[in-house]
Amino acid sequence: MWWPVVSGGRDAEYSEFVAARLSSLRRLAGVLCGDWQRADDLVQATLVTVYVRWGRVRAAAHPDAYARAVLVREWLRERRSGWGRRVRLGGPVAEAAAAGADPDVVLDLRAAVAALPPRQRATLVLRFYCDLTVEQAAQVLGCSPGTVKSQTARALETVRRTLGPPPAAGAGGQRAAAGEQPIYPGGPGRE
């Protein structure tokens, strides 16, 4: 890690802020991207924007929240652009499950969340990783609270549908034995 050499004032404040928040920004980026290489690129881009807007960041009631919003919006912008989509051409590559969890379940869930449209994924991350209220998430995403609610509901429904019915599925649902894998698209171009 290389830290900027700064003499004081704006640059010193920025440097101090980055040093203190880098790890949390990186974790948020990792959760959004599902890939630590791209997470680092996202944080890099976020830090540039935070520097340019440092006056507004410093003046914000919650500088952390401001930086978080910059990161989420930068990610959404990248996902809209071709560059972000190109590097996903190969489809999401599942990473290893955390120790102690059922690896199959975790990998399925991870793939299902990774396949969500970007705004739905961002909504889930803000609500269930950052623990933001509906109103706070709406502020970050630049939309109405109602949209956050509907995006959350749709995202959860999509994940449920992708994972298939639980073993004891209700009426109409196909029963899935333990360990069975749904044949379901999760490939390129699905976002």
Partner: protein
Amino acid sequence: MSESQIRALFAQIAAGEPGGSRVDAQAAYRRGRARLRRRRAWLAGGSLLAAAAVAALAVAVVPARPRPGPPATGPAAPRQFSPLVPYLSFGWLPSGNSLVAGGVRPEVAYLTAGRSNALGPSTWDLAVYAAGQCHLTGPARDLKCSTPALEGLTARITGRAPAVGGHRAFWAGPFLVWQYARGGWASLSLPLPYSSPKLSNAAKYEAARRDAVKIADHVRYGAATPPLVFPARLTRLPSQWRVSSVYYLPDAGVLRASRFALGTGNPDLGADGGLEYQTNLPYLMIDPASRKGYCYRSPNRKNSSERSTSETINGHRVVVTQQVLGTRPRQDLCAAHADGLALYISQFGAHPPINLTSLFRDHLRLLGTNPANWTRNPIG
């Protein structure tokens, strides 16, 4: 699946943060300052001053050495790639890395490679763009690619890189970009295994850059081996239908087409922004069946547009699902076990010339699991 499981998943991902970081706070600081300078120059002095500042920045961010190679001369890059012929192959890979997947569309051919370790696969990408898809801006600040499917693609150049194959090359953040032939550009993301310890080590980052240049130097164009083969054949289709994109996997000594789309060559930004699909034409995924694979069947709830039916077609059990996503009708056909293969076909659009049931029943021939029976010509 519940909210608590989603929370647990996110917490697990965050807890898996690798120790090393490629984030370069100093570079962010420098770029932020440069951007501010440009903005202030623009505000203060108008376009002439801003142009001067931009020119100064271009000089400032581009190290004097190494010198880039000359613009590519000699053979021109292909005007477009054939999705049936992988255009690319690696001539050299860093130790422990291997080909993971690849794909071809008319405007771009790409390969994904990487290595697996305790934290899972770590991959990187090589992409080669057809002639005219990408353009270097005047002062070599951006590489811009503009196609219907890749609108807005821009790589911001951060420095000169050693020449690749004798041609000019640049660093664009974590990418190496170079002119591989006249009129054609390529990009390669740095082969950095994110799960390695101490990735913040500058020496390792530089080593990854050296590897990137060596990989790029050894890329083979136009002569991909082994062949790309399809485990299915489509017959009696409308004459203008073609395979428009392919995603393939190395498998049993061949490159097996795992997913492919059909198109008519007409621009179509409807279904997915032109990335893979064409409205009213199918997108197929075919892989070896797994013993525990099954097809999801919608519970056909009253308040949902999604409707599934189970049928037996040509002796195979399939689930056909219809739904409306927004305003777009979508049809899916799934067969979990069909001649040893698992099949999933999707189609967007209200007026497909051939619906998926008919496609599966009358136009699709599955070729089993033996690569010797697979075909290089999936249509015809």
